[in-house]
Every structure is written in C-alpha cells, then in structure tokens.
C-alpha cells in the first residue's frame, strides 16, 4: 500500500490538526501567492473556518478585500502581516491605521530569501538590499569584499572576476585608492512557520508538486519552511506518473494534499488592443 496524502476536502485537510497541536491561536502561517496569482484560495477559506485567532501571516501580499488573505482580515483573525507590498485593500488599511494590525514590510527578495533560508536550516544571511534604509534600522551591518562586483558603485576599482566573498575588518580612516572594493551588507534572519499553505498545479499521491507559470512565485520556498505543509492542487495523479526531472517540490515536504477547482481571480485584466 503506497502513501497517499490526499484529503477529501479543504476542511478535511485541517482535520485533527488542532488536537495534534499543529495549529493553534497565535501561530505563524505562510501563505503562497503573488497578488491573487498562485494563492491556495480554498485552504485560506478552510483556515478562516477553523476560527483560529491572533495569526501571524507571512505572505508577499494581503489579498483583496473579499478574496485571499483579505477574508481573514475581514474576520480579524490576523494580528500581524509580514509582507513586501499590500496594495489596494481597504480592510487592511483600516485595521493598520487603527493599530489593530501589525505590519512588517520586507523587501520582496529579502522575504523570499528569509523563507528559503528558514527552510534550508540557515539561521541568517547578509544582503546588500536595504542598507541605508529603514529596513536596516537596528540590524547588524558588515562590510564584505565582493568578487566580480559591477562597476556602477562609486569608488570601485575594476572588478576581479572570481574569488570569495571576504569579510573585511572595520575600516579606519579614509579609503586608499587601491584598497579592495568593499560594500556594506545587512544581516537578515531566516523564517520558519508552524504551517504553510501552498498552491501547485499538479501533484502525485506522494505529494510531489509541479507549479504552473508565474503561479509558482513564493510557493516552493514556503513548502520547505514550515513544520506542517498543506498543498492545494488542480490535479492529483498516481505516484510514478510525474517526470522526476520536472518536479519542483519533492513530495517529502508535503504533509497533506487537496484537489480543488480554483476560481483564479484576476486583479488587472489587461489585453492587447489589436
């Protein structure tokens, strides 16, 4: 008898998780998607229906007023969002301005990398993104030599093409003209959640996942960065049917699977005039 992680419905995918201590009030949940593209739309509704409160949601965006994570904002189940851009969402704006909702903005690449790092067991990493901005406030800054750096940054001598990123001792006094190029980097920490809800296109019974087009976005990293992972998919095929070379998320990362018919709302329907 081979493994199947398939559940009968989105509600069934949450069955017994509270009793097992997997889900609880105040937990942190990652939710895949970019805008409304590639969001686990039925799992979000099922999460809402658990009635859990005080959630921290890690998701690039916060949905729209009546779809995606906007549904959990309407019911005030989210206490904090970790996102890069929240766009046009009146519910979000109202709760943020009244102080009900806490928001931590991360640069989008920093958010993606924090999730990737969390899933890979990497506690922290240095990045140039955000240095000199409010994002770096209170965080550790270190200088590194970067091989193959480009020449746009001022006061850089032509780049060496290979080598190691080397940590530089703190600089004392003005820079000598022939000194190695160095650049400031900010320390960012990895992210790991209690639960991740991801959306894929196809899965097999074991939970191997294949994403479709730009609906992939944050889903593959989130599938690696949580203690429990539920995947919402459009099609489930027998294990052994998917081409092993074409699998984006190995099945070992996925705990439960549910097949749904996605509504796939479009935020900005744009067509060519021709």
């Amino acid at each position: 008898m081979s493994i199947t992680k398939r559940c009968a419905s989105p509600a069934d995918a949450f069955k017994d998780l509270a009793a097992q201590g997997v889900i609880r009030d105040g937990m942190t949940v990652m939710v895949g998607g970019f805008g409304l593209c590639g969001i686990p739309e039925h799992l979000i509704i099922a999460l809402r229906d658990t009635g859990l409160k005080g959630l921290t949601c890690i998701s690039n965006n916060a949905g729209v007023d009546d779809w995606g994570l906007g549904l959990l904002l309407q019911t005030r189940q989210i206490r904090k969002m970790i996102s890069s851009y929240v766009g046009e969402n009146a519910t979000f704006e109202k709760q943020f301005l009244s102080g009900e909702l806490e928001v931590e903005f991360n640069p989008q690449g920093t958010l993606a990398e924090r999730i990737r790092a969390g899933g890979a067991g990497i506690p922290a990493f240095y990045t140039a993104t955000g240095v000199g901005t409010p994002v770096a406030a209170g965080k550790e800054i270190r200088e590194f030599y970067r091989p193959a750096d480009d020449t746009r940054h001022q006061n850089r001598t032509p780049a060496a093409t290979a080598g190691t990123f080397e940590q530089m001792a703190p600089r004392v006094g003005p820079r000598a003209p022939d000194a190695p190029r160095r650049r400031e980097y900010v320390l960012e920490t990895g992210l790991y959640a209690d639960l991740a809800l991801v959306k894929a296109w196809r899965a097999d019974e074991f939970g191997n996942l294949v994403y479709r087009k730009t609906a992939r976005n944050f889903n593959p990293m989130m599938a690696t960065a949580a203690a429990f992972v539920i995947a919402e998919v459009e099609e489930v095929v027998p294990t052994g049917t998917l081409d092993p070379d074409g699998i984006h998320t190995p099945g070992s990362y996925v705990d439960r699977l549910v097949r749904t018919v996605s509504e796939k709302r479009i935020e900005q329907r744009t067509v060519s005039k021709a």
Binding site: Y85, F96, E113, D150, V271
Partner: protein, 220 residues
C-alpha cells in the same frame, strides 16, 4: 518644451542594448517596452518569476497564472522561463540583470533614491524596489523633474526614507538627462529637452550638479 512621458520613455529605451536583460518598474517605466528598437533582442524580467515577458494577451489568451509584477495579465515570449521568487531575486540581487528603469519621488546628488514611502501616509510596502536598486548593474530613473507644487525632486539629500544608497546611474526627466560621474559622485547634465536651457534646469534642481561642456538637446 518639457518632454512628454512618451518622450521620456523613448529616451530611456535608447539606453537598451542588444541582448540586455531588463527589469521595468511599474508605471511610466513599463512604457519603455513600446520603444524597444526593431531588431534589438531585449529580454524583460518580471520579478514574480518570468524571464521573457511578451505582449499583453488577446482576450482569448488571458491566463490567470501568467501575470507581471504589476499583476497585469501578460504573455511569455518564445524562449521564456518561469522560476520561483527566490530564484528571481537571486537573479536580481546577484547582479545578473543589466538594467532597471524605475520611477522615484526623490533622487539625491550622490545617487540615493527614495520611492517607497511618505511618512504619515499609508505605506503600501517596497515590493522588489530595494532589491532592484541594490543588485541591478545600471539603474535608470525616469520621473518628472519637479513635484506638482514645483518643489525640487533632484535634491542635496533625500528627506524621504531611502530605497537605496548611491545607486542611481542615470536620471531622465521631462527637462533633462543626467549621468552619475562615479569619480565626482555628482550627476553630470548632458542633455536638455528642446527649448529648455541649462539655467532653467539648474534653477529647478536643488542638487549640486556638474554641467557637461557639450550639453546637447535630447534626441526625441
């Protein structure tokens, strides 16, 4: 006459080179795609995980799984590839993108950029802007030279919270074109809009700038 948005983006498109990998910001920079010279092979990257953006779809081709960073439905050109957000920002932060064109609220004389928040107003977030200005090789800013109230946007130091430090390589406004001189750490005024004088640009610019010996009219 100040340049129109169409002329600004046309001038920005003149910076493209055959084979370039380019990321276009939301808003005016998106229009640069309309001015890619015929026969030039430019690959547009979308930070939500696509290299090789094609034209907007016909009504029958609309696919909700295929959008750009502005959340508009798009198509993918032949040879395109899809990847995760982590891979996309590795491409951006790792220096694998040749040029990025984006808008700004303020640019400082040594190349700082502020374009994501105004204190006291609702903050929507920086999206991928901080990653782009930190990682892309050439950063071209397209914007109106002055605010609606006439206030300077090319300033000595940004009063708004920064998106990135000393990262702008080129500035194209409705009045002029300026290039960052890395040695002097100041912008050099090289082109003015037809009918606009160097003195007018200087009067409308708070930043300390260098005027090139051979200022030319912007070719539009």
């Amino acid at each position: 006459m100040p340049l129109t948005r169409d002329q600004i983006t046309r001038r920005a498109a003149a910076e493209l080179r055959d084979g370039f990998i380019v990321n276009l910001g939301i808003g005016m920079p998106t229009l640069v795609a309309n001015h890619i010279p015929p026969g030039m092979d430019v690959w547009l990257q979308s930070e939500n995980g696509l290299l090789g953006i094609g034209p907007f779809p016909k009504d029958s081709e609309v696919d909700p799984d295929l959008i750009n960073a502005g959340k508009q439905t798009i198509t993918a050109r032949a040879g395109a590839s899809y990847f995760s957000s982590a891979d996309s920002f590795a491409m951006i932060r790792g220096g694998h993108i040749d040029m990025c064109i984006l808008g700004a609220m303020q640019v400082s004389q040594d190349g700082d950029i502020a374009n994501w928040m105004i204190p006291g107003k609702m903050v929507k977030g920086m999206g991928g802007a901080m990653d782009l200005v930190a990682g892309v090789k050439k950063i071209v800013v397209t914007m109106e030279h002055n605010a609606k109230d006439g206030g300077a946007k090319v300033v000595r130091a940004c009063s708004l919270p920064l998106t990135g430090q000393r990262c702008v390589t080129m500035l194209i406004t409705d009045l002029c074109v300026m290039h960052m001189d890395p040695a002097r750490q100041r912008f050099v005024l090289t082109e003015v809009a037809p009918g606009v004088t160097v003195d007018e640009v200087k009067a409308k610019t708070e930043a300390e700038i260098v005027v090139a010996p051979d200022v030319r009219p912007v070719a539009v």
